[in-house]
Structure formats: C-alpha cells, structure tokens
C-alpha cells in the first residue's frame, strides 16, 4: 500500500481524497495554485506544495510541476481526481516513467476507452449497441452529409476529443447541416486542439444512464450498478440518482453487463463509468466511457456501501478486487444535487466571492461533500461546484422529500447558487414521478434555458 499520496486536484474532490487517505493511514501531499493559497482543506493534508499561478494551465495542468512536487515530497502515487489531468494518458505515462504510480488505468486502457471514437469501435466489436452514426471520425464534409442523410435527421455532430458538451451540434434540418459542421469543428479546435468530429443519430428524450465499474490489475471487473443523470442543462449534470427510476430490470442487467464486458476487453483497472442513452422503448445505446472517478460517485457509494476512492487506491496499489459481483448489494435510493455558485436568473452565470454563511443540512441519510465554509473564498478561475448534497433513503419518494428539505435547510450566503432552482426541480411533478429525460430541464424551465455564459 502507498505510504504517501499526492493529490493533484483542488476543492471538493481534493478534500474527498484527503479524507479517504487519512482513514487509510496514508500520508497526504496536496498541490495548490497561488489562487488557492490559504484554502482550509489544504490544512487537512500533511504537506501542501504550491505549483504555480492561478490559471489551470499555470498550475493544475502543469504535469512537470506536479510530478516534481511528488518527487520532492516522496509521494509514491498521484491521485488526479476528476478534470485537469485525470484523463490525460501522457500524464499517466510520465508519472509511471518517474516511478510514481498514477491512480487510474494504464495509459493504454485510458486511450482505448477514453477516446470516444476508439471506444465506439470496441463496443461495436463486442456487439454492444452504439448510437447509429459515422464509423469513426469523418474529415470530408460532403461525406458527412451523405452519412447524416443515411442515418436520418435529427443527427448530433460530436467532437472526438471533446467532453462537457463542447464541440457538439444538434441538426434537425438538412439545410442547417453544413454550417453546423463548420461551427462544431471550430469549437472543437479551440477547446481541444482538434477539429475531428463524428456523427451520431440523435435520440429523442433519452435517459442518461451510466454504470460504475471497478477493475483490478488481475483481470477482474465488477459493476456497482447504474446512476441516472438525466437532469442536465446543456450537457452539464445537475442531479444524479441511483437506481434509475425509469428503466426495466432487463435493461439494467444488460447495460451493467455491457459495461463490464467493455472494461474487461480494454483490460481496465481502477474506476470508470460507462455511459449509455436509453430511449423510451428501453433500447440502450453506448455513448462513452469516463476513465476516472466522477463527481457523482457518492450516489453509488450510498446505495452500495462501497467507498470508491479507497477502492481506487487499493486497486492502483495492485490489490485484487476485494468484492466479487455477488458481494455487491443495493439498498434504498440515493439522490445527489450539485449546488453550483451560479445565478440561474442570469443564465447560470458563475459567481465568485466570499461565502459569509455556510450551513449545510444534516439528519439521517444526509451527506454533504464540500470544501466551502464560513469565510471561504470561491474563485472565478475554477469550476463553480460549491457543494454536493446527497441523500439516501429507503424509497425514492422518501429521498425526494429528504432532498427537498435539505435544499431548504441549506444556507449559503451571499453568493447566488443553484440551490433554489434545484429545490424547484425537486417539487416538479415530472421529477417526483421519475419521468425525466435529458431534455427535461430545458423543456420545463424554459425561462432559464437560454445560452449559458461559460468562462
């Protein structure tokens, strides 16, 4: 087991990893940028090392400085969290070349599953249904139009190197197609330094259903069930829950089995999430794999009782999976709400500043993951996630009631947050009935659903 781990991240996930390490008796080193100097979660680390300026490209994305920090601190492994360098195969290779373990999959497995087009190819080889689309990246725009016509509109243009909803365009009419391709390529080039795009059939009102898997370095993979993350806005998840309220048990079995097969084929180890879309008829389509721990991992932790961060660390240390598939059981229902420092009334514009009052809710089955507290500074330089509220109750009905109460109880002042908006969602009849799909937020909350103001 590692004696000392370096945490190459910030905010709530850094704190989450710090907590897991402390409970395992592992020493911790946390990196920080000049912008994060003085953040209180750093006090939980045995050592904190400044690695650069405020901008992520000057600090949290500086793999050279992060590895140097691990060296001088004597850390044996680096946990990348999510975002930043978590899905950077070159970074994983650099760590291991420097004799530092990267808490994540091999670079090869990361490339195999992390690249969307490559993952789709593998899925198809394994006869896992993917969304009908182009067979990989298409460079010729005339060819793209031909395939789009063949698939049938509406189609989705997607960036191969992308994520987070960027480099994506939905096209309903043939006439709009040429312009949309140009825009998608430009956006992808700017965000990911690659204009490679591919096509997918657009599925109407799908559910977003994702499967959590864990794999060891001895060839075993298990799943920990699914999460339904259909409550999204502009492809950013707002609410996640487990189990999914709107899929048949047959579908659940099938997507979980497909996820395991995919991970096995890629020789994947540590944690990953396999994403699917499920249509109204219960047909499922593989979308992509996230080769990292995810923001919404607590949802699965609550219903299974498995600590995913500790599991990641043990698996990265080479230990065999301590659970067989049979040993994983599910109890009750868990819901997570992401509270962002954003103003829903101002098109979800990110808000920065100092939190003067932070009173998290409590009570039975309530968990709050947050780095914030009274006097905490929220920087405009990083993502706006302020807190994750997770509730776990015996039934979905009880979980919804509990979450509504928690969102009312939660006090975060003076910043604008999405707390009130989420509270509204919690009372909406469609959400209460579990009848949600990825168009739910934009359809129902139309006054809030206009162009996002993203940094």
């Amino acid at each position: 087991m590692f004696r000392r781990i370096l945490i190459a991240n910030r905010g709530e996930i850094a704190l989450r990893i710090l907590r897991a390490c402390r409970e395992m008796g592992i020493e911790t080193v946390c990196v920080y940028s000049e912008e994060d100097r003085g953040q209180s979660y750093l006090e939980q680390a045995d050592r904190a090392i400044c690695i650069g300026g405020p901008a992520p490209k000057d600090s949290y994305l500086r793999s050279d400085r992060i590895i140097a920090a691990a060296e001088i601190a004597g850390a044996e492994a680096i946990h990348p969290g999510y975002g930043f360098l978590a899905e950077n195969a070159a970074f994983a290779e650099k760590c291991r070349a420097g004799n530092i373990e990267f808490i994540g999959p091999s670079a090869e497995a990361m490339r195999q599953l992390g690249d969307k087009a490559a993952a789709r190819d593998l899925a198809r080889k394994l006869k896992i249904q993917t969304v009908p689309g182009s067979d990989g990246v298409i460079d010729d725009d005339t060819e793209m139009l031909r395939i789009a016509t063949q698939i049938g509109f509406p189609v989705m243009i997607k960036a191969s190197a992308g994520g987070g909803g960027r480099g994506m365009r939905l096209v309903r009419e043939r006439d709009d197609f040429a312009d949309a391709v140009k825009q998608a390529r430009q956006e992808s080039q700017a965000a990911f330094n690659s204009s490679a795009v591919y096509l997918e059939k657009y599925i109407e009102r799908p559910r977003h259903v994702e499967v959590q898997i864990l794999g060891d370095t001895h060839g075993k993979v298990i799943h920990l069930g699914e999460r339904d993350c259909s409550t999204q806005r502009r492809h950013q998840k707002l609410i996640e829950e487990s189990p999914s309220p709107g899929i048949e048990s047959r579908t659940r079995k099938d997507v979980c089995a497909a996820a395991v097969r995919l991970a096995l084929a890629a020789k994947y180890s540590t944690a990953a999430t396999v994403e699917f879309l499920v249509d109204a008829k219960g047909r499922y389509y593989f979308i992509e794999v996230n080769t990292r721990i995810q923001v919404e991992h607590p949802v699965t932790e609550m219903v299974t009782g498995v600590d995913l961060i500790k599991a990641q660390i043990k698996l990265a240390a080479g230990q065999p999976l301590e659970y067989t598939q049979r040993m994983i059981t599910w109890h009750g229902h868990a819901i997570e709400c992401r509270i962002n420092a954003e103003d829903p009334e101002e098109r979800f514009r990110p808000c920065a500043g100092v939190v003067s009052r932070f009173r998290a809710p409590g009570g039975p089955g309530v968990r709050v993951d947050s780095y914030a507290h009274d006097g905490c500074r929220i920087s405009p330089k990083y993502d706006s996630l302020l807190a994750k509220v997770v509730v776990h109750q015996p039934t979905r009905e009880a979980a919804v009631q509990s979450m509504a109460r928690c969102l009312e109880e939660f006090i975060i002042e003076p910043l604008h947050t999405t707390r009130g908006f989420l509270r509204e969602v919690m009372s909406h009849p469609d959400f209460v009935a579990g009848q949600i799909d990825t168009t739910f937020v934009e359809r129902v909350f139309t006054r809030l659903a206009s162009e996002p103001v993203r940094k």
């Binding site: 000049e34 400044c50 690695i51 050279d64 400085r65 140097a68 060296e71 001088i72 002042e413």
Partner: protein, 157 residues
C-alpha cells in the same frame, strides 16, 4: 513603455493574496499599487474587490518582463525577492565539490547563474534577471522548494 501585462499580473496577485499595497522597483523602474480595503457588504451580491489604483513613477523604458514570478512581499521595501519559478530541489552549487554559484555580497547582473533547481533528474540553471548585490540566501542546499518560494534577496544597484 509601461508593461500593462505586468501591472495586470501584480493586481491579480494582490487580489489573490488580499494585499493592500505593493511597491516594486526593478532597475530604474518603480511601480506602486494601492487597493482600497475590501468591505463585506452582507447583501445578496457577489463581493469582489474594487479595482486597484495605479501610480507610476515616470520612467525610462523597462527591461523585458521577467519570466520569474514577481514577489508580493511588502516587508523588504528596497530589496528584490527572487522566487522559484518551479517545483524542485535547490542546489547552491553545480556539484558537491564546487563552491556555491553566489555568496552574500556577490554582485550579480542579468544572466548570472544563481543556483540550480532540479526536478525529475533535470538540472535547471536559474539566472538572475536583475542587477544587484546578494543580500540574503533564503534556501539551503538540497532543500525542496515550491513554486513562488523566495530564494534570494537582492539589493538593486
């Protein structure tokens, strides 16, 4: 010609570290920045500090913007702090047998090698970007240093 980018970086650093005043002299150029105190309003508004006021001493053209991060220390009013531009191990000499690159009292100018910072088996020579006399050496040989950590105090000449 005033380097607006440098001023902007200084302002960002002041805000990030909640400093009220910064004074920086680099050769013949002097920059003084002062910020009004930030007051918590307790209203429903996002609280952000007011923009800084800038006063510049009329100047000869400045030397090129340093690659080394600028220090925010207000203690050493007349001294220049040279801080680490990277994470690594500080070495005062090129090898254990050699004498240190610089001692206290040594005159340095732009290009003078001050120390070595090592990371991942790569040894980087750190060169001075200012002219002056070494007043204090703040890091010990073989000490681990982080980004922005002060290494030398230089009295400008």
């Amino acid at each position: 010609m005033v380097d607006v980018e440098k001023i902007r970086q200084l302002i960002e650093m002041m805000v990030a570290n909640d400093l009220v005043e910064i004074s920086l002299r680099d050769g013949e150029e002097e920059v003084n920045l002062r910020r009004p105190q930030v007051v918590s309003t307790g209203t429903g508004m996002s609280v952000l500090p007011a923009p800084a006021q800038v006063s510049l001493v009329p100047p000869p053209p400045m030397t090129s913007a340093p690659a080394l991060p600028l220090s925010s220390s207000a203690k050493h009013e007349d001294l220049i702090e040279i801080v680490s531009p990277m994470v690594g191990t500080f070495f005062s000499a090129s090898d254990p047998e050699s004498p240190p690159f610089v001692d206290v009292g040594r005159q340095v100018q732009p290009g003078t090698v001050l120390c070595i910072l090592e990371a991942m088996k790569v040894f980087n020579e750190i060169k001075s970007e200012v002219s002056g006399i070494i007043e204090r050496i703040l890091a010990k040989n073989a000490q681990a240093v982080e980004y922005g950590q002060p290494l030398f105090l230089v009295r400008p000449v």
